[in-house]
């Protein structure tokens, strides 16, 4: 018995039958089944009850039921167990083929394609049943020669596997010249998109069909589900992603561009990808210098112990994407690290072992020029601030601000603002509290997606409007009710949202709101009849009642409009948008001029 089956059987035994999970379920089908039916189905080899089948098919694994359980059981897993039985029962299901906007029959069946995928290196060791489950949520797409599959810089969050034909990966020439550089030709069995799935990054290359090709397009949620179900697949994905990440990070000209290709390849071969969780330490002050690090994504805080005993550590600087550090202490053969490095957000760091780095540096004299590379500026800045003289000066200078947050790079990083792409900022020294921005949002979108509350730093308010994070945690929607548009904006797909509220729960900034769905407007006759009938005996549901159907609403950066309603509506010029990545990059003035206002 697999651990999963074991756990489900245990949960069924522990279930107290209170029905709360079904009450929490946003699906209308939940009212058709009873808790006893669902529990009984776990023990049945084949499920035949039509109600249960309908419910199992509809379940999106949104896991809204899980927190509702007073006994701390996972109804979602129990349903998944049953779902797997139902899905396994359909091995001969034919699959359809997407040709541009048309849908046609494909030559594949579910089981047949699962067999073919099993032969792809990526899915080595994955049980056929798991592959069948994956295939239930994929799209088979046929591309004509010359048809683009994805475009460089777009967010697609898909894993693509080429079944037949050939596709070409190209990239724009560096330094903005015309023409494109061919990277690879992808033949049958090739795959790409793992960076989108694993790191929520935009596609680094454009992919265009060379021949008539058929690709499998697996959405992020399905891939993650498969990673959970099949450890072999997870390992493959992680190592693959690691290799590719290392390759793409190190190939950036700003980092190791000054080294000859041979040196770079040598470093690459020995490098490894280190994922860090928020607050996890990379190394501490006093540790012996061992490796060189390159920040792939996320932010790291660089601190030094305070001279004052018992005081909190002093923040020297932040390392961000593209920063290289550790090299100077190695090259200078320092005995110990002079600062500590902790992850602020989820971080990926590439580690190059120190011995390898030293060896390469000795053989290639160009490595000496590394100390002038821009990638080392952050470390040099940290070192300068950490010098005894600098620290003495800093101690003598009065604190600039106490209490209120000064708007500086560290706050931007610590408060997660740097995650945003188009941050709404309200300048409270100008705001007259007229609510014009909120009303304008409501007029444009039907109901307002903006509330004037949120993080206040100094005189700036960062209201709870979507930040369109680089690393969006809201996107794990099982029904694609919330998606990242190719341009990078996070948007709710109204037709698909089932109102489970999972995205709203996940958003760390509380920027997704669950809004009651307006009941369809009744006609004049119906309203007249209502009037004749008098007040309904059934009291109207209050807005806060959990039984009221809801849908998620959030800022979509006024998609389809040429301005931001909130920014345009501000009569005193208090509201504006900034792109922190662009405006904070130098750590200097973060000018509204660069905002799309």
């Amino acid at each position: 018995m697999s651990p999963f089956t074991e756990q489900v059987h245990r949960d069924v035994t522990a279930c107290i039958g209170c029905h709360d999970c079904l009450l929490a379920c946003p699906l209308p089908e939940a009212s058709l089944v009873g808790i006893a039916e669902l529990n009984a189905a776990v023990h049945l080899p084949v499920i035949r009850s039509a109600n249960v089948l309908r419910f199992l098919t509809a379940c999106t694994q949104c896991r809204q039921c899980v927190p509702a359980c007073p006994a701390d059981l996972s109804r979602a897993d129990m349903v998944l167990f049953n779902k797997m039985k139902v899905e396994d029962a359909l091995p001969d299901q034919p699959l359809s083929l997407q040709i541009k906007r048309e849908v046609a029959a494909s030559p594949f069946t579910l089981d047949g394609l699962a067999g073919e995928l099993g032969r792809v290196r990526l899915f080595a060791g994955v049980p056929r049943a798991d592959l069948r489950r994956l295939l239930l949520s994929v799209t088979l797409r046929r591309l004509d020669p010359g048809e683009a599959l994805c475009i460089e810089g777009e967010f697609h969050e898909r894993l693509y596997i080429v079944l037949s034909g050939a596709l070409e990966q190209t990239a724009a020439k560096p330094s903005g010249k015309d023409g494109r550089v061919r990277i690879l030709v992808l033949g049958p069995g090739s795959f790409f998109g793992e960076m989108a799935i694993m790191a929520d990054q935009p596609e680094p290359f454009s992919v265009t069909a060379q021949l008539t090709s058929i690709v499998v397009e697996a959405p992020k949620a399905a891939v993650h589900r498969l990673m959970n179900a099949a450890p072999a697949f997870r390992d493959t994905m992680e190592s693959l992603h690691g290799r590719r990440a290392i390759y793409s990070y190190l190939e950036k000209p700003s980092v190791l561009g000054s080294l000859p290709r041979a040196a770079r390849e040598e470093l690459l071969a020995g490098a490894s990808l280190v994922p860090l969780k928020a607050a996890q330490a990379l190394f501490r002050e006093g540790d012996p210098p061992s490796d060189v690090y390159l920040v792939g994504s996320g932010f790291l805080r660089v601190t030094r112990r305070s001279l004052v005993p018992g005081a909190a550590d002093e923040v020297l600087v932040y390392f961000r994407e593209g920063d290289l550090f550790g090299a100077l202490s190695l090259l200078r053969r320092e005995p110990a690290q002079i600062f500590s490095v902790h992850a602020v957000s989820r971080v990926e760091v590439i580690r190059i072992p120190g011995d390898l780095f030293r060896r390469v540096a000795e053989r290639f004299p160009e490595a000496r020029s590394l100390s002038t590379t821009t990638a080392l500026e952050a470390e040099q800045s940290a070192r300068a601030q950490g010098s005894p003289r600098a620290r003495a000066n800093a101690a003598a200078a009065p604190a600039l601000l106490s209490g209120a947050h000064a708007l500086s790079w560290d706050v931007v990083v610590e408060k997660g603002l740097a995650q945003g792409r188009e941050l709404l900022v309200v300048d409270q020294t100008r705001c007259t509290h007229c609510n014009g921005c909120v009303d304008a949002c409501g007029r444009r979108h039907g109901e307002t997606r903006l509330e004037l509350r949120g993080l206040a730093i100094d005189h700036l308010l960062f209201p709870t409007a979507c930040r369109h994070c680089d690393d969006p945690v809201c996107l794990l929607c099982s029904v694609s009710g919330i998606v990242r548009r190719p341009s990078g904006e996070i948007a709710i797909v109204e037709e698909q949202c089932i109102g489970c509220g999972a995205c709203a729960e996940r958003c760390p900034y509380g920027n997704i709101r669950m809004h009651p769905v307006e009941p369809p407007a009744r006609g004049i006759l119906a309203r007249f009849l209502d009037f004749l009938r008098g007040p309904s005996a059934e009291p109207a549901l209050s807005e806060s009642d959990p039984k009221v159907p809801r849908k998620a609403v959030k800022c979509d950066l006024c998609e389809g409009h040429d301005d931001y309603a909130c920014v345009t509506a501000c009569p005193v010029g208090a509201a504006f948008r900034v792109d922190p990545a662009a405006t904070f990059s130098d750590g200097d003035v973060f000018a509204g001029a660069r905002a799309r206002a």
């Binding site: 900022v425 409270q428 007029r443 005189h459 308010l461 345009t568 509506a569 208090a574 509204g592």
Partner: protein, 785 residues
């Protein structure tokens, strides 16, 4: 630290350019208004010389008013752009920052335009639609400007204290912290719970907290410290919420003023436009308005607040009594009852009242006196010839037209009063304009001071065939044509000596814009021969002027050389000369005017030798043979003080006959004389009358003693009448000849009195108020030896 993180505002999103633009706009408008008021823009505006007041009704003033309205509409566009147009404006959406400044700038320039438009109009004390509109607009602008300043000052000051400024968020956090506190305290001792409640209630000093910690064990102490931290944080959050609410209330307080005022503004503007453009007066010709408030008519007493002298003079004049005079009331009502009332059209049914009170009749639409109409003030309706009758008349002038409804077509009630002044000064009550008709001396008088009606409708007025009762205008025209000097005004409205201000009671600036140049002010007591019979016994301010006018009208001569004594008969020639009165003596309704010669001859022992025209009492009648010796004459019954007729009586009172005709030949066709004129005569069977029937007419009396026709004396004409006096046995006689005048015969009053309706002032007793004025006198002693 990153300073200066602000939205970079575009050039047009900043206040300075807009404020500068508004200042320039305001200055330009103000300067242009000042220039226009000084008459410097006439070349550009083609302005009328009369339109120079710094007021809204001048051409430039109207332009400013329209400009202010358009600017206000631009300001309102902000609200529209913000709400309904947000998603509908296809282009030019801009940002609301730009729109707000556009709104502010438009509002500021509108204030300047409004101030320049209203000009002196703002200074008056009289409540007007303009002032109401201005008050609303001023408050509206003030609230906008005040809060624009508040917006500049309050947010920067409040920002550091507000923090995360959603009230709801603060509430939610407070709620969460309360739950957190409850979680910490759950399962704790009673002391912990008590201290928890106590900490939540209010901020406690560290000494108090230390005391509260004492009874607790170590674990609970830590819990209480944590609770204290949370409670403090919660309290701070709630305080922040209050601060935020207070700030929001302050920042948004303008809505309480600005929005209701903005809603009231269009209503006030509409009222102002309706009032200022005199739309009710234009929409409702006199009489069509259902009630007085919208008829744009004002009683003459209202004019007295500034024009007190003129109004008081008018009040004592017969113009002010034209409808209230008991004679008029009796005569009109009896005529209406007898004859006019049966006529269908207002013409000539209202022949009398149309002249006696054109405005009142137009408003009331009645023929009988006194006039009254629901919704209208009786005093206004019955005020006769009031200020408006002359000064709000824009029509043409034609003799006799006012007796017909034609006059009322030219009547223009409303804000404009017309007079002879070409360069009127603005005032708080009315607009002024020059009137060609008023400036043409007597132009207005002609309308009423001829009473004629084309009975046969042949387009010609022929006495005998048509109604011709009064011909003063024609008499004056003939006089002027023959080189006569003077006008109606020169005798009846002479310039007042020493008076230089027309509106002598108007206080400067608040009622009159500024000092006017010295004016010639004319007497408005319209001195003539009439006086209010019912009032004259109590007050008669015009008596000296009236008598002076009469005394200057005629000369009386008794030529001693022309005296002949033959067969005991003294032949006395008395000459009466009309010494330059611009019309006949008597004129007007000459059948009601008694001008006669009183002759007394006294012999030895002061014994009366001869008398003619001598009345024992002022209320006695002349013993006219034409009445007394006329068999069946209905007037005879009302004659008092006569035993027999006076055969040598020289009385120029014309005889009113109820039916007039012209002399006809044997075949019955009108018979013209050598000059082609027809001669009016009493129709066959006609009798003397005291009301003016449509077929009536006045014919001269004939002196029975010598058959001389006693027609009125035309200007500069001398009429000589001879008296034959028996002076036998008299050595010498004293002769006294007086030319006397009485405005109405007592018999006529008595006759009219006999037909009066109940409620009217009784005429018969009023004979006691009749005055006899001595126009001229001659005394001589004739020695007969």
């Amino acid at each position: 630290m990153i300073p200066g993180l602000r939205r970079k505002l575009g050039w047009l999103e900043r206040g300075a350019p807009w404020l500068a633009l508004s200042a320039i706009g305001a200055l330009v408008l103000g300067a242009a208004a000042a220039l226009a008021a000084a008459g410097r823009l006439d070349g550009i505006l083609a302005g009328d010389s009369a339109d120079h007041a710094l007021r809204g009704y001048t051409p430039f003033g109207l332009f400013l008013g329209i400009a202010a309205t358009l600017l206000t509409l631009i300001a309102v566009a902000y609200s529209l752009r913000k709400r309904p147009l947000q998603e509908r404006l296809p282009s030019g959406r801009g940002s609301m920052t730009l729109w707000l400044w556009l709104h502010v700038a438009a509002g500021l320039v509108a204030i300047a335009a409004v101030l320049a438009h209203a000009g002196y109009g703002l200074l008056g004390t009289e409540l007007s639609t303009g002032k109401i509109l201005f008050a609303i607009f001023a408050l509206l602008s003030l609230s906008g400007v005040a809060w624009r300043v508040v917006y500049q000052v309050v947010p920067p000051a409040a920002a550091p204290k507000i923090g995360d400024y959603s009230e709801r968020a603060s509430d939610l956090r407070a709620e969460e912290q309360l739950i957190e506190i409850e979680k910490i305290a759950a399962g704790g001792s009673a002391d912990l719970h008590r201290s928890k409640t106590w900490l939540i209630e209010a901020e406690r000093s560290s000494a108090e907290i230390a005391a509260a910690l004492a009874p607790l064990n170590e674990a609970e102490r830590e819990k209480l410290m944590e609770i204290q931290r949370l409670a403090d944080s919660r309290r701070r959050g709630l305080a922040r919420k209050d601060r935020k609410a207070r700030t929001t209330r302050l920042l948004q307080a303008w809505r309480l003023l600005h929005i209701p005022l903005a809603l009231a503004l269009p209503l006030a503007l509409l009222a102002h436009i309706v009032g200022a453009l005199d739309l009710p007066a234009k929409a409702f010709p006199p009489g069509d308005a259902p009630f007085q408030a919208i008829a744009s008519v004002h009683p003459s007493k209202d004019c007295g607040s500034c024009h007190r002298r003129i109004t008081e003079q008018w009040a004592s004049s017969m113009h002010a009594h034209a409808l209230r005079s008991p004679v008029t009331v009796a005569q009109n009502n009896q005529l209406v009852a007898a004859e006019l009332g049966r006529l269908k059209s207002p013409d000539p049914r209202r022949l009398c009242v149309n002249c006696h009170g054109p405005l009142g009749v137009a408003l009331a639409g009645q023929s009988r006196l006194p006039l009254s109409r629901a919704g209208y003030d009786d005093a206004l309706l019955n005020e006769g010839i009031g200020c408006s009758t002359c000064h709000q008349y824009e029509g043409e002038s034609s003799p006799g037209s006012a007796g017909l409804t034609k006059f009322q077509d030219g009547f223009r009630p409303g804000a404009v009063y017309r007079g002879e002044i070409d360069d009127p000064v603005g005032n708080a009550f009315h607009q002024s304009a020059p009137s060609a008709l008023v400036k043409r001396d007597g132009g207005l008088c002609a309308n009423c001071h001829s009473v004629e009606y084309d009975v046969d409708g042949d387009g010609k007025l022929v006495k005998g065939l048509d109604l011709v009762l009064q011909t003063t205008t024609e008499e004056f025209a003939a006089f002027a044509a023959s080189g006569g000097k003077g006008t109606c005004v020169s005798c009846h409205m002479p310039a007042l000596a020493g008076a230089t201000r027309v509106a002598e009671r108007a206080s400067l600036v608040s009622e009159q814009d500024h000092e006017a140049p010295p004016r010639e002010v004319h007497d408005h007591s319209f001195t003539g021969v009439d006086y209010p019979l019912d009032e004259v016994a109590r007050k008669d301010p015009n008596r000296p002027a009236r008598e002076a006018l009469l005394r200057g009208a005629a000369r009386l001569d008794v030529d001693p050389a022309a005296m002949v004594v033959k067969a005991g008969q003294l032949s006395l020639a008395v000459a009466i000369t009309n010494i330059g009165v611009g019309h006949n003596l008597p004129s007007g309704f000459a059948f009601a005017r008694q001008m006669w010669l009183e002759v007394r001859v006294v012999g030895e022992g002061n014994r009366s030798v001869f008398t003619s025209g001598v009345l024992a009492r002022a209320s006695d009648d002349l013993c006219d043979a034409g009445t007394l010796d006329d068999p069946g004459n209905p007037v005879k019954a009302f004659v008092v003080g006569c035993k027999a007729s006076d055969p040598q009586l020289v009385s120029f009172q014309q005889k009113l006959v109820d039916h007039i005709d012209v002399e006809r030949d044997a075949a019955g066709a009108p018979k013209a004389n050598a000059a082609g004129d027809l001669k009016a005569i009493a129709a066959k069977g006609a009798s003397e009358a005291w009301i003016q029937h449509l077929a009536a007419g006045a014919i001269p009396r004939v002196r029975p003693s010598d058959g001389v026709v006693l027609a009125p004396i035309t200007p500069n004409e001398t009429r000589t009448h001879r008296y034959l006096i028996d002076v036998r046995n008299q050595p010498r006689v004293n002769v006294t000849v007086r030319l006397l005048f009485r405005s109405i015969p007592p018999s006529m009053l008595r006759a009219l009195g006999s037909g009066q309706a109940a409620g009217e002032i009784q005429l018969a007793p009023l004979v006691e108020n009749l005055q006899i004025v001595e126009m001229a006198t001659r005394t001589l002693t004739v020695d007969l030896r």
